[in-house]
């Protein structure tokens, strides 16, 4: 096992491609039946890129994820908290991550998860309405990560970046073609999303990665705040 290109992410050669791990920030945490490797008294949790769009992008060789040791993260669409828990590993105990989701059913699981990790906080809120959770963000964050299946996901993302992302901070957006328009060809939807992001004055596009074969018809965009 050797360090990958990003903070606290490790990789190991496997039969097929690479296995990805994060250095566990909280000892003896195992929330998703993931494999855990112990090496020199340090635990490492395995990530399944098929369950996490962030790590699918890492496996596909994205150039920048913005999330580092000590980062503060706003995570929109955290769901059960699978990816969020690994982000929490990357940022370590000095970092902080606010996990937002609208669906009560999944936030219930998220609350239990966050209780075990001091750097995570759950929030039941709608990311269409940033005003409803701005009181929970004391200063602008280093990273906004968004993974929601909504039609207007790009404009929701830009709205949140405008309001909460600090200068020079990174925004990560997972675009699901099928939830923007099922009838259109995914490539066309991605092109339109790109143009919409490109038009935004406050951010520049840094990178994008298609997530196949881990996730069908998805692209992860990385933008940087001017």
């Amino acid at each position: 096992m050797k360090p990958a290109r990003f903070d606290n992410i490790y990789e190991e050669k496997a039969k097929k491609g690479m296995k990805l791990f994060t250095k566990s920030a909280y000892e003896d945490f195992r929330g998703f039946e993931e494999a855990i490797i112990t090496k020199d008294d340090q635990q490492y949790r395995e990530v399944d890129p098929e369950r996490s769009k962030l790590f699918a992008a890492v496996a596909k060789g994205i150039s920048q994820i913005g999330i580092r040791e000590g980062s503060s993260v706003l995570y929109l669409g955290a769901s059960h908290g699978y990816t969020a828990s690994y982000c929490s590993d990357i940022i370590g105990k000095q970092g902080k991550i606010l996990c937002v989701d609208v669906a009560p059913r999944v936030v219930r699981d998220l609350v239990f998860l966050c209780e075990k990790r001091d750097n995570m906080a759950p929030l039941l809120a709608d990311c269409r309405q940033p005003e409803t959770y701005k009181e929970f963000i004391s200063e602008n964050v280093d990273v906004v990560f968004q993974d929601i299946a909504q039609r207007d996901q790009v404009s929701i993302f830009l709205k949140n970046c405008d309001q909460f992302l600090k200068q020079g901070g990174f925004g990560l957006l997972a675009v699901k073609a099928r939830s923007i328009d099922v009838t259109k060809k995914p490539a066309l939807v991605f092109k339109q999303a790109y143009q919409e992001l490109d038009k935004a004055r406050s951010t520049v596009i840094v990178d994008k990665r298609e997530l196949a074969p881990y996730e069908k018809d998805h692209v992860l965009f990385v933008v940087k705040k001017r």
Partner: protein, 243 residues
């Protein structure tokens, strides 16, 4: 530290919001899903009971086709009594020891408890449906109405969607097969169990399904926006037209 304070606040707010998010929709959906689970499980178990008990008294399983009645008789009557009732002179079943029979009866007891629980659940569903959405319940009865609510996810959603969607709920497989391959489109989903459709002739079923779904759609809107009761009126209109 600032983060600790915000984190505590996020927990408090979120927990409050989660507690407040539970409503009648959730209770109905869980109750109707539990009813389906009970049906499925008790059917599996009763198939086993019939196989098992047939080693001992095969005549019975053959004579009583109704599952509930079968379970009751196994529990209440001895083999001798049952054979007499059936006027059967020679049984194909083995003479088993008391201990072996007891195990079968234990299974039968559990199945009977499931049947009782299901009946109780049905009564509960009726009260809660009467409270939450009296109009669609008046037209379709508590079980079918609850199934539709389950498919839609909430009364709000059921009030928003068009009548044709209500007509198709529960027939998704057939509907998408139709869209994909051009096979014959389905006429009805869950509402097929409604007495008006169930007893109609095949040629009328589609027409009744459409009309019924229309009235249900109206009733759902009245239920959601808390209008004056209209369910009984709509049901009577349907019964006059098709009954």
């Amino acid at each position: 530290m600032e983060w600790q304070r915000l984190r505590e606040k996020a927990f408090t707010t979120t927990k409050e919001a989660l507690a407040a998010s539970v409503n009648d929709n959730h209770l109905i959906i869980q109750a109707v899903a539990s009813m389906e689970d009970l049906d499925r499980t008790s059917n599996t178990l009763i198939k086993r009971l019939r196989e098992w008990y047939s080693l001992y008294g095969p005549e019975f399983s053959h004579a009583v086709t109704d599952n509930e009645a079968f379970t009751r008789r196994v529990l209440e009557k001895s083999k001798q009594e049952q054979l007499q009732e059936l006027q059967c002179k020679q049984s194909m079943g083995a003479d088993l020891q008391e201990q072996d029979v007891q195990e079968m009866l234990a299974l039968a007891g559990m199945i009977r408890a499931m049947h009782e629980e299901r009946a109780r659940l049905e009564r509960y569903l009726e009260t809660i449906m009467q409270r939450h959405c009296p109009n669609i319940t008046a037209i379709a009865g508590p079980t079918i109405a609850a199934r539709l609510l389950q498919e839609a996810g909430s009364l709000r959603q059921l009030a928003i969607i068009q009548a044709s969607t209500i007509q198709m709920y529960g027939a998704e497989k057939a509907l998408f097969r139709h869209l994909k391959t051009g096979a014959k489109p389905p006429k009805h989903g869950h509402i097929i169990n409604h007495p008006l459709i169930a007893k109609a002739q095949a040629k009328d079923k589609g027409k009744i399904a459409r009309a019924l779904a229309d009235k249900l759609s109206i009733a759902a809107k009245v239920d959601y926006f808390k209008g004056d009761p209209i369910g009984d009126e709509l049901r009577k209109a349907l019964e006059e037209r098709f009954g």
